[in-house]
Subunit: 332 residues, 2 copies
Amino acid sequence: MKVVIDAMGGDKAPYEIIKGAVDAARELNVDLILVGKQEIIQEELKKHNIDGLNIEVVNATEIIENNESPTMAIRRKKDSSLVVAFKLLKEGKADALVSAGSTGAILAGGIFLLGRINGIDRAALTPVIPGKNGPFVIVDAGANADCKPNNLLQFALMGEVYANKVLGINNPKVALANIGAEEEKGNELTKQSYGILKENIKGFVGNIEGRDIPNGDVQVVVCDGFTGNMILKVYEGVAATIFDILKSEIMSSTMTKIGGMLLKPVFKKFKRKFDYTEYGGAILLGVEGLVIKAHGSSNAKAFKNAIRQAKNAFDGKILQDIKEELNRINRE
Amino acid sequence: MKVVIDAMGGDKAPYEIIKGAVDAARELNVDLILVGKQEIIQEELKKHNIDGLNIEVVNATEIIENNESPTMAIRRKKDSSLVVAFKLLKEGKADALVSAGSTGAILAGGIFLLGRINGIDRAALTPVIPGKNGPFVIVDAGANADCKPNNLLQFALMGEVYANKVLGINNPKVALANIGAEEEKGNELTKQSYGILKENIKGFVGNIEGRDIPNGDVQVVVCDGFTGNMILKVYEGVAATIFDILKSEIMSSTMTKIGGMLLKPVFKKFKRKFDYTEYGGAILLGVEGLVIKAHGSSNAKAFKNAIRQAKNAFDGKILQDIKEELNRINRE
């Protein structure tokens, strides 16, 4: 398998990105194409042992920044590391693309440069989130702020394939993010979507309320991108706030400092459990190719795991599965 | 001031409700009407010292349960504690109503039995949430799953008055819950609402993303009821999950148990900071009367604080202020 890497995307590019890519090449036995400013990449590669690894470097002189208009940037910066990477993927020179760059640009690139899978109306950003009892995905987490029931059906279908093939969950549970447990609860979108999901999605278990999402007992949380993004951000915000406060309180006296020291293994274990870097990033589901958006602040480990995620999606043949599921639904 | 109490509503009714009400009568110097099964209430009152307190008991033979259809229940159970309490409020025999009963029934009662304030199209459920740097409100947190920009404007206006008069914040900051900081971000509703809020709301500071909500730097978070309810529930869910996990990890070894003991003051302080019972409950803004929905699981302290909230809203003359603000906006 060959993965094309946007070597210039991400807050910690190029150092951590290239380190993570080299680590992945060795550990996961994948071939790489690193795209970006050739001199910089070559210089970075010298810092690592790349003996026996299959790493190609492709020059790209431009970089897409986070503050640019994504669609504009994708159209105009034709020699950016991201656009060149997308072209290589599109031409079949790589099997997957991984970037820690601008989410908007990766979305725009996926939709305009790769195109959507035939039968999919909207592509969805699908992050893997650590839950109490295991990881889960949110589809969509921000690509489509306004959605129709049919979009949610397609999100559910793609999320189910992903949870099964990449997270390795047999018969993943799929639920509709909603503000009540009963079928008739919710807004117009969720009310209209419930029946369609019930009819078409094998693992559909009904509605899931916000309070139950962190448990991770449901592996696919389906919603419009506005709701999904809100869930994701509140999730991160509350967790960060709690640890901020605990930390500053622990530092407030000698007694509590000692207590904090004794609890180090607890906090460490907790952090590991809720460490997004373990899961890589968010996959862009619904486009004609495997595209992984690694977290913007990815370090080498997070980026390596994003490449692992790409490999699992490739090995799991998820694109093929999604197409087969689409055919099944359309036949029924 | 006289507060009418639904003595039969809530998971811990009647004991904790009546205890909280009696405590409030003494501490806050308010008069009470307790509505519910007379014999039960009289029996409960014997457990407390009510010398010198002005407490009236009004008999009501029915109880509205959480699992009933709210609108149906309000219409049919005319002798329920909640409906009788609403009637007393409507007739001017009390200045505010407090209930820990079914949220849906309280909403339906407020809208159908009291009616909306002239000029307000939708009533909004407005809970007070503890944030890192202070409390904030979410308007709406679940009364209206689908909203229009004009609803959000009215929510913002009412929330601003409430934060000012009841939370006691001078010039509260008001923000639109959204999935991006820039004006043009969001779904159709937020995109259409931004300009209207900017034009009409003094304290409007733009969009707030989910990640920043827990900080409490913005005191009024404006959104449709679907989004607000989702934010609220994810907030509660993540916090509960984190403490569940920490607790079980702390109990896993002697060392960590000792650490946990030393950190007791930290956890206690934290719990107090994030204790919803400190703030009472959610006010129903936009109806012709002061209605407080106390948390369903309210104990005496939480219920007492809900009565305090009613008193602050009464003393702050928020109904009058809301009407004046509505006039101001309509004049402009």
